[in-house]
């Protein structure tokens, strides 16, 4: 199925018994394997509205991320939440779409400063499991009119409805960017430094530690960036080198796309914890004899783990001591190891209750989130 319009999509959904596998660009094959006909959203593409002076962008859900980035760049703007491109890591091809970004709430290193994808999503139109065309939110930045289903749709992995149109808040690309880097720290030391930098009054827009490299990003007006670089180097980031411009950007693209694990063998887990627990989780895995590599973004709070498939059952027990959640991003789900973190019973009851309301026949990506 490849609808060209919202009305056509609604008709298709109403007329089928499913199941349907909702697909944007197909670059993020994450989640439990599913049966079903592909619902290809790439036919519903295009920028509907871009109002630079209001920081607003409205696009159809199948619009390629690359096209959006082009349109925004022409006005000196960007998607502030810096969505990851999963292709290298997952060995997928195709063209990532905005619908896919939102469905997976894909949020990059700038999460620590400005927020996640869900924080920039202002409105959504979608087709529910009965074929109704629905909308929530709008195109303005402040909106508390009725329940916020916009957040609910972000990160719902296509299990609640098929999104057709999305509005975003965008931001201007800052004049300057610089990254402070240092090699040689352990994960615990690195994350402690990140935490100090994030707790300083210098508006850090990226804080990561990967394989012995600790890096902190600053963005803004040129003078301000220079000032903050200076202050941090005089303070908690003494001994850090400075890189700027394209070189700085490359460092963050590597973090954003988890590039070091792209070529490496093994399963990749994405773990979300309290930032200072990141390195502790790695220590707990060591203690449990689980060989792994770890990349820390979000000041330590987002941990990418590379492990051998045989160790899949060890991840969540190690995590249990800390709280947070783990998702299997690359690798095969196996018995007893669901892709998404199992929820406690009362929360799971709410989630499945919501799915039953939005998609009563269970036809959208059934079972993807477990």
């Amino acid at each position: 199925m490849k609808p060209q319009t919202e009305a056509e999509l609604a008709e298709m959904v109403a007329g089928t018994n499913g199941p349907l596998r909702v697909r944007g660009g197909g670059t993020r094959p994450i989640g439990a394997p599913m049966a079903g006909e592909v619902l290809d959203m790439s036919g519903m593409s295009g920028v509907v509205l871009h109002e630079p002076g209001a920081l607003t962008l409205v696009v159809k859900a199948g619009t390629p991320v690359a096209e959006v980035e082009r349109v925004l760049a022409a006005e000196g703007q960007r998607l502030p939440f810096e969505p990851m491109d999963h292709r290298a890591l997952l060995g997928s091809d195709g063209e990532p779409t905005m619908g896919g970004v939102v469905a997976a709430n894909v949020s990059g290193p700038r999460r620590v400063q400005v927020g996640a994808c869900r924080d920039f999503l202002l409105g959504v139109r979608f087709v529910d499991g009965t074929g109704r065309v629905l909308k929530n939110g709008g195109r303005v930045m402040k909106n508390v009119t009725g329940y916020d289903l916009v957040k609910l749709m972000a990160g719902s992995w296509g299990t609640l409805g098929v999104m057709t149109e999305l509005s975003f808040k965008v931001l201007a690309v800052p004049q300057a960017e610089a990254t402070l880097v240092k090699r040689g720290a352990s994960a615990a030391e690195g994350v402690a430094l990140l935490s100090e930098a994030l707790g300083a009054p210098y508006d850090v827009s990226g804080a990561a530690h990967l394989e012995g490299r600790t890096q902190v990003r600053l963005e803004g007006l040129a003078g301000s960036v220079a000032y903050r670089v200076d202050q941090l180097r005089k303070g908690c980031l003494a001994g850090f080198d400075v890189v700027e411009g394209a070189e700085s950007q490359a460092l963050w693209q590597e973090v954003r796309d988890v590039t070091p694990f792209a070529e490496a063998e093994g399963d990749v887990w994405r773990v979300s914890v309290k930032p200072s627990d990141g390195p502790k989780l790695s220590e707990a895995l060591d203690a449990a004899g689980v060989r792994h590599r770890a990349i820390y973004d979000w000041g330590g709070g987002l941990v990418w783990l590379l492990v051998q498939p045989g160790d899949a059952t060890a991840i969540r027990p190690a995590l249990a001591a800390f709280g947070g959640h783990a998702t299997l991003i690359r690798g095969r789900a196996q018995a007893g190891v669901p892709v998404f973190q199992p929820e406690l019973a009362p929360v799971a009851a709410i989630s499945s209750g919501l799915r039953a309301k939005f998609d009563p026949r269970g036809i959208f990506n059934p079972g993807l989130m477990g």
């Binding site: 109002e51 002076g53 209001a54 607003t56 000196g76 709430n105 949020s107 996640a116 869900r118 924080d119 529910d128 109704r132 629905l134 909308k135 929530n136 709008g138 303005v140 930045m141 402040k142 909106n143 508390v144 009119t145 009725g146 329940y147 916020d148 289903l149 916009v150 957040k151 609910l152 972000a154 990160g155 609640l160 201007a172 690309v173 800052p174 935490s195 994030l198 707790g199 300083a200 009054p201 007006l221 003078g223 301000s224 000032y227 979300s272 309290k274 930032p275 200072s276 709070g301 947070g324 973190q341 929820e343 406690l344 009362p346 929360v347 709410i350 209750g353 919501l354 309301k357 989130m369």
Partner: protein, 477 residues
């Protein structure tokens, strides 16, 4: 505003209910005397009043759970309440309801600077969250003007904003986790000190649900390090169009001020008479605030002032001292009080696309003449969140109704130009019946379906948010 008729069967259960509540709460936490329940008869939308059947003031999540379980078993509606500063009637009781106030639950449970969060009980006031961390130079960013009084509970329920949310976001962008007690007494933990959700983003839908999905008793809030300094600049313009254009040029330029506030002439005049802040007598006034070190502030202001100058301002006033900064903010901060001196007022808070500002202000001016009621505009211009203040005389028969009709017209206009009914105050009862102008019946149905999941009997804050007609069958059970 119509409210559902109290359920006589529920009213008849009062003695039994009080007895059961007293089994789980201390005597001083159960208020059931008619003279005393009156204290809870309204929130800050004082035009509507109705004492509840009783009010309870639990001290712990466990007590909240006990109360809800009892009310659930007995089929008694519950209206959660923080500090009662809602401007939308969000905490207005019905005669057959129990007010569940969280004011006694105001402790700070955990402060973690390394991970930049605090965990508090939700009865704690907004300002005192910052108060708990400011000795270490941290702050909690969302800053509603009511922050001295309003509670985190209400902030979460309304997804409240503030003057500085252009840079820092509103409540939902600064909320990491909650402890939620469901209507049947079940306690659930959603989110935590980590930065995203592992499953569906339930936190996102709980925030802003106006007390209709559960009672929030604890919250994990993101805190930030205080900037080194902040400074406002004041600009006066001859026309709303030009001021509006200046706002969008600043936003586009890649400096992100923490606040851009807008006042129109009626509001400037009223505040000048009241607060004598020395504002110029002009058509439109902007206050733009930036943050950072002195040098950073200067760098940003240079850029902003250059943009402002290109729009031929009638006045540009830079602050050079803390006193001057305070003076620039003085008028803005006294605006509500100043309007209140003139007459009773109703404060609206629809949002519009920034580009529609001049048109909407012009239309409001025209409507003001048609209705014969004065209106002043003071608002968060950076994000298009308007605050028209309509003046009326509460003692004059018919004036409130006239004012409400005018307000409704303004809000419908906000929706027509691509905006929404409420940017930060919430729907409550005030905008409940206007929801049909923004949403199709199906759009409302899917929202109500969310409530069906959390609160199948529709006992929590039942006559709010959704038009009574739309929710009638569900409320009937």
């Amino acid at each position: 505003m119509e409210m559902p008729k109290p359920d006589l069967a529920v009213l008849a259960k009062k003695p039994q209910l009080v007895k059961r509540l007293l089994q789980v709460l201390p005597a001083d936490a159960v208020i059931h005397d008619d003279a005393e329940t009156r204290a809870y008869e309204c929130d800050a939308l004082t035009a509507y009043k109705c004492p509840p059947m009783c009010a309870v003031l639990p001290s712990s999540t466990q007590e909240v759970s006990d109360v809800l379980r009892i009310c659930h078993e007995m089929g008694v509606p519950v209206v959660p309440r923080g500090s009662g500063t809602s401007l939308a009637g969000g905490a207005l009781p019905t005669a057959d309801s129990v007010i569940l106030g969280v004011a006694r639950m105001n402790a700070v449970l955990e402060t973690d600077y390394d991970n930049r969060f605090v965990r508090v009980q939700t009865g704690r006031t907004n300002l005192s969250v910052t108060g708990a961390v400011e000795q270490d130079d941290f702050f909690y960013a969302p800053d509603p003007s009511s922050q001295l009084a309003c509670a985190i509970a209400g902030n979460i329920a309304m997804n409240s904003g503030g003057a500085h949310c252009l840079k820092y976001g509103v409540t939902t962008n600064n909320l990491l986790g909650v402890t939620l007690v469901m209507m049947d007494g079940t306690v659930v933990e959603i989110g935590g000190a980590h930065l995203d959700s592992g499953g569906l983003d339930l936190l996102g839908v709980i925030c802003g649900s106006e007390g209709q999905l559960g009672v929030v008793t604890e919250a994990t809030l993101r805190i930030l390090r205080k900037p080194e300094g902040a400074r406002p600049v004041l600009m006066g313009f001859d026309s709303n169009e030009v001021a509006g254009q200046c706002v969008s040029d600043i936003i586009k330029a890649g400096v992100l001020p923490v606040a851009i506030e807008f006042m129109d002439r009626p509001c400037i005049r009223a505040t000048e008479a009241f607060a004598k802040a020395g504002y110029p007598d002009c058509e439109a006034l902007l206050i733009v605030e930036v943050e950072g070190s002195d040098a950073e502030i200067k760098e940003q202001l240079d850029l902003i002032l250059e943009i402002a100058r290109s729009h031929n301002p009638v006045e540009l006033r830079e602050s050079t001292s803390a006193e001057e900064s305070a003076k620039i903010w003085l008028g803005r901060k006294s605006a509500f009080g100043a309007m209140g001196q003139i007459n009773d007022y109703m404060c609206l808070d629809g949002t519009i696309p920034v580009s529609q500002l001049p048109f909407v202000l012009r239309r409001i001016g025209e409507m003001s003449k048609e209705y014969g009621l004065d209106v002043g505009n003071v608002f968060h211009a950076g994000d298009g969140n308007m605050h028209p203040l309509i003046l009326f005389n509460a003692n004059k028969p018919g004036d409130l109704e006239l004012c409400e009709a005018f307000g409704a017209d303004i809000l419908r206009l906000c929706v027509e130009v691509g905006g929404c009914l409420t940017g930060e105050h919430g729907v409550g009862i005030e905008k409940r019946d206007l929801m049909v102008s923004q949403f199709e019946p199906d759009d409302l149905d899917i929202q109500m379906a969310v409530k069906d999941v959390f609160d199948p009997k529709w006992l929590l804050n039942p006559a709010k948010v959704f038009p009574l007609e739309a929710s009638r069958l569900r409320r009937a059970g």
